[in-house]
C-alpha cells in the first residue's frame, strides 16, 4: 500500500473524528461499527467480483441468512413449541428433501419419455401435498404457543459469537445450491438467479413464523458484550467514567460500542488476512487468470465452472458472516427491513468505488460509502435549508424538498457510482 492509499484511510479516520466532534462521539462510534461490517460485506462481494468476475446481486439474501443464523444459534429454545410440533416440522423438512432427491434420481435414472414425465409429476405433486399435510398442522401448533412473545421454535441458546460462523455456513450452503444451477451459463443468468434467491430468502424469513417469527421480529438477542444498564450499576465503571470526566450514560454507551468495535476489528483483520493470503497464492493467480481469459484458462486445464462455484461460495459465506454480525449489533432480527438497494446494490457501490480486485480498496469503499450513506442526509438537509432560505417559510416546494432530503442519498450514490465507473473505473485503490 503506497503512501497515497494510506492517506485515504487517514482522511477516512479524520472524517469519523469530525463526526464525533461535530455530532457526538456515540454517533461516530456507531458509524464506525457499521463501517466495519460494511467493509466485511464489501470484502465478500470483492471475492466474487474482484477475484473471479462473478456478477452476483444476491448479497441481501446471504446477509439475511446470517441474521437468521444469529437467531437460530443464540436465542433460548422454546420447549413448549418443540414439544408442540418441532419434530414434526423437522420430519416435514426431511420429507421435502427426500421428495426432491427422489425426483432428481428419477430424472437421472429413467429414460427420457412419457414414463419419466408421469413419474416425475406424480412424485412432485403427491410429495408436495404429503409435505404440506405434515408441515401445516405442526406449524399451526408451534405458532399458537405463546404467540405474543414466542410462537417459534427458538434457537439453540449458544453464545451469539458462534452464530457468525453458522451464518457463514448457512450462506455457503445456499450459495452452493444457487451456484450449481446458474454457474456455467451466461453471466447474466447468475445475476438474475441471485436476485431471485435473495427475494426468496427474504420471503421465507417474513413468512415462516415458526422459524424466524416473520414480521413479528425477534427482539432481545443476547449480546457478546456487557449491557449499558449493568455497567451503570457497577461501582468500578462509575469510578472510571468519573475519572474520564464523562457522564455514566454516555460512558456506558461508548464502552459497549468500543467493545463491539474491538471484536469486529478482530474479525475484519482475520478475513482480510485470509483474503490477502488467497489473493497472493497460486490459487489467487489462477482465479485472476480465469477472470481475465476464461477460454485460455480452460485450455490450460482449469475447471472454470468448479472454481467459479468455489469462489462464489466463499464470497457468499463472508457476506453471511457479516450479516450475522449486523444482527448481533442490532440485537434484533427484522426481516421487513432487508431491502435490495441497501443490502445488495450499496455493497456493490462500495466495491466499485473502493477498487474492485483490491481488498484494501474494498475495505476503504465499505468505510467511505457507508459514511456517505449516513451523512449525506444531514448534509443534504443542511444544503436544502440554506438554498431555500430565500423562499417563504411555508413555501410548498421548500417543505416538499425538506421532507425528501432522506432520498438524496440514493441520488448521491448513483451519481458517485456513475462518475467512478466513467472516470476512475479501477476505483480509489486500484488492483495491483
Amino acid at each position: 500500500m503506497s503512501l497515497k492509499h494510506a492517506s485515504y484511510f487517514a482522511i477516512m479516520a479524520v472524517l469519523l473524528v469530525l463526526v464525533g466532534w461535530l455530532q457526538s462521539w456515540s454517533v461516530a462510534m456507531g458509524l464506525f461499527n457499521m463501517c466495519l461490517i460494511s467493509a466485511i460485506m464489501a470484502l465478500g462481494v470483492n471475492i466474487q467480483w474482484g477475484y473471479a468476475g462473478l456478477f452476483s446481486v444476491g448479497t441481501m439474501g446471504f446477509v439475511a441468512l446470517g441474521g437468521l443464523a444469529a437467531v437460530l444459534t443464540s436465542m433460548p429454545p422454546v420447549p413448549a413449541a418443540w414439544s408442540a410440533g418441532g419434530l414434526r416440522v423437522l420430519a416435514a423438512l426431511a420429507l421435502g428433501a427426500a421428495v426432491i432427491l427422489v425426483s432428481v434420481l428419477i430424472y437421472r435414472k429413467m429414460a427420457k419419455g412419457v414414463g419419466r414425465a408421469v413419474a416425475l409429476t406424480i412424485t412432485i405433486v403427491v410429495g408436495f401435498f404429503v409435505y404440506r399435510a405434515v408441515l401445516d398442522p405442526a406449524v399451526d401448533a408451534i405458532e399458537s404457543v405463546n404467540t405474543a412473545a414466542e410462537g417459534y421454535l427458538g434457537g439453540m441458546g449458544l453464545p451469539i459469537v458462534l452464530s457468525w460462523a453458522v451464518g457463514g455456513l448457512l450462506a455457503a450452503g445456499a450459495a452452493w445450491v444457487i451456484g450449481k444451477i446458474s454457474l456455467g451459463l451466461r453471466s447474466d443468468y447468475l445475476a438474475i438467479a441471485t436476485l431471485g434467491i435473495a427475494e426468496t430468502i427474504i420471503a421465507i424469513l417474513k413468512n415462516e413464523e415458526w422459524l424466524s417469527r416473520g414480521v413479528k421480529n425477534v427482539n432481545g438477542l443476547p449480546r457478546p458484550v456487557p449491557y449499558e444498564v449493568d455497567l451503570q450499576q457497577s461501582a468500578d465503571f462509575l469510578a472510571w467514567a468519573e475519572w474520564l470526566g464523562l457522564n455514566p450514560v454516555e460512558a456506558s454507551s461508548l464502552f459497549v460500542k468500543a467493545c463491539y468495535a474491538v471484536i469486529f476489528i478482530v474479525v475484519l483483520a482475520l478475513i482480510m488476512w485470509l483474503s490477502e493470503r488467497a489473493w497472493n497464492s497460486p490459487w489467487g493467480r489462477m482465479m485472476r487468470a480465469i477472470r481475465d481469459n476464461e477460454t485460455a484458462a480452460r485450455a490450460m486445464g482449469k475447471n472454470v465452472t468448479k472454481r467459479h462455484l468455489q469462489v462464489f461460495i466463499l464470497g457468499s459465506a463472508v457476506c453471511g458472516i457479516a450479516g450475522a454480525m449486523l444482527t448481533t449489533l442490532d440485537g434484533l432480527l427484522t426481516p421487513g427491513t432487508y431491502q435490495p438497494l441497501r443490502f445488495t446494490f450499496l455493497i456493490w457501490v462500495m466495491v466499485i468505488v473502493g477498487g474492485s480486485g483490491n481488498n484494501w480498496g474494498a475495505v476503504l469503499g465499505g468505510f467511505l460509502v457507508w459514511f456517505l450513506w449516513i451523512e449525506v442526509e444531514p448534509i443534504g438537509l443542511w444544503l436544502i435549508t440554506n438554498l431555500t432560505s430565500t423562499m417563504a417559510e411555508d413555501s410548498a416546494i421548500r417543505l416538499h424538498l425538506l421532507d425528501s432530503a432522506a432520498h438524496m442519498r440514493l441520488l448521491t450514490m448513483g451519481v458517485i457510482l456513475l462518475l467512478v465507473l466513467r472516470f476512475a473505473p479501477r476505483g480509489l485503490i486500484p488492483e495491483r
Binding site: D188, G196, L410
Partner: protein
C-alpha cells in the same frame, strides 16, 4: 351448473387478474429483451425507468384533472400517456447520451454497462422519491367497472360472477395493440428489419450500411413507449409505488429469460406464464374445489399452494427450472 360456477369463479380471481398482470409484465419484458438484443446488456434500471415514466404520467394526469379535463368513463391517465412517453423518451435518450454511449464507443464488456445501469437505477430511484415521494399514489379515475360481479350474476343467474374492471379491459386492449404494432414494425418495416439484423449479427449489419446509432435511438424510443404504457397500466390496475416498480424487475427479467433473452415473442409468452403461475399458486382454491368435488372430499383448509408473500419465489422457481432444463429459454433466445 357447478362446473360453470367453478369456471366463472376461476376466471374472476385467477384468469382475469393473471391476464392483465401478464400483459403489464409482457410490455416490461419486451423492453428488457429489446435492450438485451440490440444494446447487449441487462438493463437493471428498467423497473426504475418504469417508475419514472409512470410518475410523469401521474403528474400530467393531476394537472389535467386540475384543469377539469376528463374523458370519462376512461381514465384521464390515457390522455396523459403521450406526454409521459415523450418525457420518458427524452430521459432514456439523455441517459444514453450521458452514460451508455461512452461504453459503446470503447466497446466495454457488457458487465460494465450493467454496472452503469445500476448507477442509473440509483439516480432514478432517488429522483422519483424526491419528486413524488415513496408512498402509494392512486390516479385511476373514470368508471371502475364495465360490469360488476353482481350484474353478471343477475344477468346469468349463476351463483358466482365475473367483474370486469375498466383498467383490466384497457390493459388487455392496449397491450394487444402495442404488441401487434411492435411486431408489425419489427417484421415489416425497413427500420425494424435493420434492428433485427443488428441484433442477429452486428458486424454483418454494420457492413451492409446500417447506422448503429440510429438503431440504438429507435430502440430507446420503442422502450420508452413500452415502459410508459406498462407502468401506467400497472398503476391504473393496482397503484403506483416506487418500491413496487423496482421489485417488478425480477418477474420482468424472469419473463424475458423464460421466453429466451432477445426474443420478443418469447418475452410475451414468458410474461403470461409467470403471471398465471404467480396468481395461480397464491390463490386459495377452496371455493373452487367445493363446486367440483363431492362434499366428502372437500378440503378443510384454504387449498392455497403458497401464501401470497411467496409470489417472488414463483418467478425464481420458474427461472431455476428454465435454467436447469432449457437455458436458452422456451423460444430459443440469443446464445451470446
Amino acid at each position: 351448473m357447478d362446473v360453470l360456477n367453478a369456471l366463472v369463479l376461476l376466471s374472476n380471481f385467477v384468469l382475469l387478474p393473471a391476464v392483465s398482470y401478464g400483459s403489464q409484465l409482457a410490455l416490461g419484458a419486451l423492453g428488457i429483451t429489446l435492450i438485451y438484443g440490440i444494446l447487449r446488456f441487462s438493463h437493471f434500471a428498467h423497473g426504475d425507468v418504469m417508475a419514472f415514466a409512470t410518475m410523469t404520467v401521474i403528474l400530467v394526469t393531476w394537472w389535467l384533472q386540475g384543469m377539469g379535463v376528463s374523458i370519462d368513463p376512461l381514465p384521464t391517465a390515457l390522455l396523459a400517456l403521450p406526454v409521459g412517453i415523450a418525457i420518458t423518451a427524452l430521459l432514456l435518450l439523455g441517459t444514453d447520451r450521458v452514460v451508455y454511449r461512452f461504453y459503446r464507443r470503447v466497446r466495454a464488456a457488457p458487465i460494465v454497462v450493467v454496472m452503469a445501469s445500476l448507477g442509473v437505477m440509483f439516480v432514478l430511484n432517488g429522483l422519483v422519491r424526491l419528486i413524488i415521494g415513496p408512498d402509494d399514489q392512486y390516479f385511476a379515475d373514470g368508471a371502475r367497472f364495465l360490469f360488476t360481479v353482481r350484474e353478471f350474476r343477475d344477468y346469468t343467474g349463476l351463483e358466482e360472477g365475473v367483474g370486469l374492471r375498466v383498467s383490466q379491459l384497457i390493459t388487455i386492449v392496449v397491450t394487444l395493440v402495442v404488441v401487434a404494432v411492435l411486431f408489425w414494425f419489427l417484421n415489416r418495416t425497413r427500420t425494424g428489419k435493420s434492428m433485427r439484423a443488428f441484433s442477429d449479427n452486428e458486424d454483418l449489419a454494420l457492413l451492409s450500411g446500417i447506422n448503429p446509432e440510429r438503431v440504438v435511438t429507435v430502440t430507446w424510443l420503442i422502450v420508452a413507449v413500452l415502459v410508459t404504457v406498462a407502468g401506467t397500466l400497472y398503476g391504473l390496475d393496482k397503484s403506483f409505488k416506487p418500491f413496487t416498480y423496482f421489485q417488478l424487475l425480477l418477474p420482468m427479467f424472469a419473463s424475458a429469460i423464460l421466453g429466451g433473452l432477445g426474443n420478443p415473442l418469447g418475452a410475451v409468452a414468458g410474461a403470461y406464464v409467470i403471471a398465471l403461475s404467480e396468481v395461480g399458486v397464491t390463490y386459495a382454491f377452496r371455493k373452487f374445489l367445493q363446486y367440483l368435488l363431492p362434499e366428502s372430499l372437500e378440503p378443510s383448509g384454504l387449498a392455497q399452494l403458497l401464501s401470497t408473500d411467496y409470489k417472488f419465489a414463483v418467478s425464481f422457481v420458474l427461472l431455476v427450472l428454465v435454467l436447469l432444463f432449457r437455458p436458452t429459454g422456451l423460444f430459443r433466445g440469443q446464445s451470446i
